[in-house]
Symmetry: none
Subunit: 535 residues, 2 copies
């Protein structure tokens, strides 16, 4: 089987992306995850460029890796020095990694304008640096920066740079589309020319500036590349690097090649989300293979077909990459979406006696008002279970009162919510301050309910989103509030819509509490049943 | 020059994307923008599937388009009916669009399992429906759903479906990679086979489930496709549709083909952001060509090379697609940005006396707090002119008080804002109700100021957006409020940020009023000068 070696540069080129920054601890965590996932090479950083990267390599000296070879990245020596005395090259050796990757210039524009040296001297710098690193016992990866642009501008000179790296003893030569502007058919043609020039195994390093990094990487592999450089989630400078989370499953599932051990593939989604988490970035929902929407179906026709046979609208089985199918309920969907959702939630509703249709009608009318249930599974469950008479309201509101005060000084001086509610035959009146009216309301509601439902102490609002549904009416426009709540073992999302942001937030808050009660009741029933069975 | 016809389906397939939902007004706005941008076809919706889409087509009957042909989308008639009596087909004709697009099944799996009919009957449904629509004077686009999967599974049957559409008189036949699992080399091979089968011009409709939708669309074009279907920003079901914001510039700038009038290309970035705005989705920063990071340089080596010659690290000139270069974490570039912006606004500030640097520092600290000025030019102008001592505050706040009440009944019963402010040496105290606290505040503020500044009667809040800047703290998270205000001859955008939505809204409201005063003063000065000159 054609083996492709995956070279991950999330920790180096990935951090060139806007908003991406990893601490040394973060880098270690990610390196260990990539090792466990079975990636062949992990590029840890550029030791000569910043102290954080040097510290990472220091720390990694005492942390064993099972499968992955760690690579340190840097440039060829400068025009004004030789490798032995070049500070950048010295740092590369100090990193003590088995693999060293250096980049050199292939494009005369860069040699002349960016480096300000001669074409001849650049060839020496490549040859000398590779040779010196080989003499120091390293596996050397040579990154031919801007190879495709260089080849298009002066193919003869670009070719000589590869031959210099080969003559120096490079183990792999990687052709880089550094600016991301190369088309797949150009990659194919140029790759084939390059493989005639040198005998060293070739690799590909693509950027996504034309939304073609994955296609260009695959084209290179089909033209003979054995190494693919890229990053998890396609993180990287400008539009990002080639996305390994798409490339790896394609190589293994579509092209019948080998990239990581087959049993690891089911960990791909988890790996993707782990790296987003560490980067503190919201994972992109529509990421291929690993995104939350990658196997989400919204249209009614699609859902009813998927229920008959999943491959009608799924190009692979989601679980093979550790992802899962989701059915979205929206105004585009019909009865089949609701039935599917109910089944998934473990609720029995009938498709025949009108119950599903009445839920669909209620959904459509709510969605007309601006509700969206796709991201509010808990509110949807409440709605479906209400239709089955299966929801008990844990309290009744008597009255609610919010005061916001601001004086000439900066900021709001005072926000207080007062709430009066009834639980059974008991009345509770309480008040709470907050940062803003919704926060005060949330605080007051919890405070009032806590004595009746102590388990609410476990819950916490973990996300709060506001969206204007239709902006045309200025501040009187309708708003949709989405709330995420977390307790000890799960989280759930609820939604509220109103022209009044307080009312919309109130609805979402109430759903959040109703859902918590419902969930705990289900659990109690299940464990009671369990106890009875044991008796 | 090879002409490629762009077929936009943002309003139909785009809305299958999770979190994407457009009102009828939204759809009309987007259709008009696409028309102005020079897109050949706009698919407006599926009139038979929901009343919102039908309403859109009704409204469009009286709205003229300059260049774009509107298309209504639907399926072939059902197995159990003929086109004349099929409700879906009847609705398609009622939409009264010049173009009708219907999809039919190419994959026997779908015919047998999803439709539950015979292979033979499916061919009749395709032929009959196309023929009936042609007889009704329509330009007919036939979408061959799952063509690539169908061809791989039973090439002979898939071929017959295309021939049925051709025999019925289809004007264009579009090969669809509905599940998004097809590789570019397969697209090439299958496309070439298909072009041997029929003489009708072919098109491509690709999905991004393998991160290959752009590559597959380009491959199809290079194999002879003359129509490309896709969406703005790649919106769409699961991982999205082919992204027209990447495909259009590639066709025109990389492949030397024609897709939209050449002078329109510089409006691409604005179009992309407009559609994100209407969808109320944060635009993805790393989108190729149009993203905010697409030409953002972070690495020191890259920045210094780009300053010598931009094409060292930019594959195209950003302004050709209406985007711009950004240099991250660099004080120098920050200053030049501010100078550029000030010049654009016609404000004179000096780069030497520290004024520009102090604006940069204030901007950076505000951006750290969550401010974004890209969409709030009026707030930015106030900030720059404040540094020149050029802004007079039209009032001082003394105090502000908002009460919100709700009782056991549905909805909020009562929302009142009371405001006390000073203009010169006069104090005004007034109150106003509103739908929600921000609306009450807006009403009270205008009411208090109107006697002093009657021109405020001309202004109206035309848009109000709330975005949570960092969701991690639940209802105590920071929010950013963007307000758009309109008067007789212009509109402007202002921004406010705070953990308190009332405070954030207040800041944006105050900026909106300050800007109006500033603008009117400028106009008065200019016309006074004009009068003096005439004397």
């Amino acid at each position: 089987m054609h083996q492709v070696y995956i070279y991950d540069t999330t920790l180096r080129d990935g951090t060139q992306g806007e908003e991406i920054s990893f601490s040394v601890e973060d880098k270690i965590k990610i390196a260990l995850r990539l090792d466990a996932f079975g990636v062949e090479y992990v590029e840890g950083g550029w030791p000569g460029s910043n102290p954080k990267d040097m510290e990472f390599f220091e720390r990694m000296k005492s942390i064993p890796l099972k499968k992955t070879k760690l690579a340190a990245f840097g440039s060829t020596c400068r025009a004004s020095s030789d490798p032995q005395s070049d500070e950048n090259v010295i740092q590369l050796l100090k990193a003590e990694t088995p693999v060293v990757t250096i980049f050199g210039k292939s494009w005369e524009l860069h040699v002349l304008e960016a480096l300000g040296t001669t074409l001849e001297r650049n060839l020496e710098m490549i040859y000398d640096t590779v040779k010196y690193l080989k003499a120091n016992g390293k596996e050397v990866v040579y990154d031919a920066e801007h190879f495709f642009d260089g080849f298009k501008s002066n193919s003869s000179y670009a070719s000589k740079t590869l031959q210099a790296a080969e003559a120096g003893g490079a183990d792999t030569i990687v052709l880089c589309d550094t600016n991301g502007g190369t088309m797949p058919h150009e990659v194919e043609a140029i790759f084939k020319s390059a493989s005639q020039l040198v005998r060293v195994p070739l690799g590909i390093h693509a950027h996504n500036d034309s939304e073609l990094a994955v296609a260009n990487s695959l084209t290179a592999v089909r033209s003979g590349a054995v190494q693919v450089q890229g990053t998890i989630n396609g993180f990287g400078e400008r539009c990002g690097n080639a996305n390994l989370c798409s490339i790896i499953p394609i190589l293994q599932m579509k092209l019948g090649m080998s990239a990581v051990p087959p049993e690891k593939l089911a960990g791909l989604t988890e790996l993707s989300r782990f790296v987003s988490d560490v980067a503190n970035l919201q994972p992109r929902k529509n990421l291929p293979y690993v995104g939350q929407s990658a196997f989400a179906h919204k249209g009614g026709i699609h859902v009813s077909a998927v229920m008959k046979s999943a491959r009608t609208y799924e190009h692979i089985e989601p679980k093979l990459v550790g992802n899962s199918r989701r059915v979205l309920v929206s105004d585009l969907s019909g009865k089949s979406n609701v039935l599917y959702k109910a089944k998934e939630l473990g609720i029995e509703i009938s498709g025949n006696n009108g119950q599903a249709s009445s839920v669909v009608n209620e959904l459509k009318s709510l969605e007309n008002e601006g509700y969206v249930f796709e991201d509010a599974d808990a509110s949807l469950e409440i709605l479906i279970r209400k239709s089955a008479g299966d929801v008990v309201m844990p309290f009744e509101l008597e009255s609610l009162h919010i005061i916001i005060e601001k004086d000439a000084n900066d900021g709001i001086s005072h926000t207080v919510a007062t709430i009066k509610l009834r639980v059974g035959d008991k009345i509770e009146l309480t008040a709470s301050e907050g940062i803003g009216p919704v926060n005060a309301l949330d605080n007051a509601l919890r405070k009032a309910l806590l004595q009746f439902y102590p388990q609410l102490a476990e819950t916490k609002l973990s996300d709060y989103k506001v969206r204007v549904v239709d902006g045309a009416d200025g501040t009187a426009a309708k708003v949709r509030v989405l709330i995420e709540t977390t307790d000890l073992d799960s989280n759930w999302d609820t939604v509220g819509v109103s022209e009044n942001i307080i009312e919309a937030s109130w609805k979402a808050l109430v759903d959040s509490i109703v859902y918590k009660m419902m969930k705990d009741n289900d659990k109690n029933k299940a464990s009671k049943r369990h106890v009875e069975l044991r008796k």
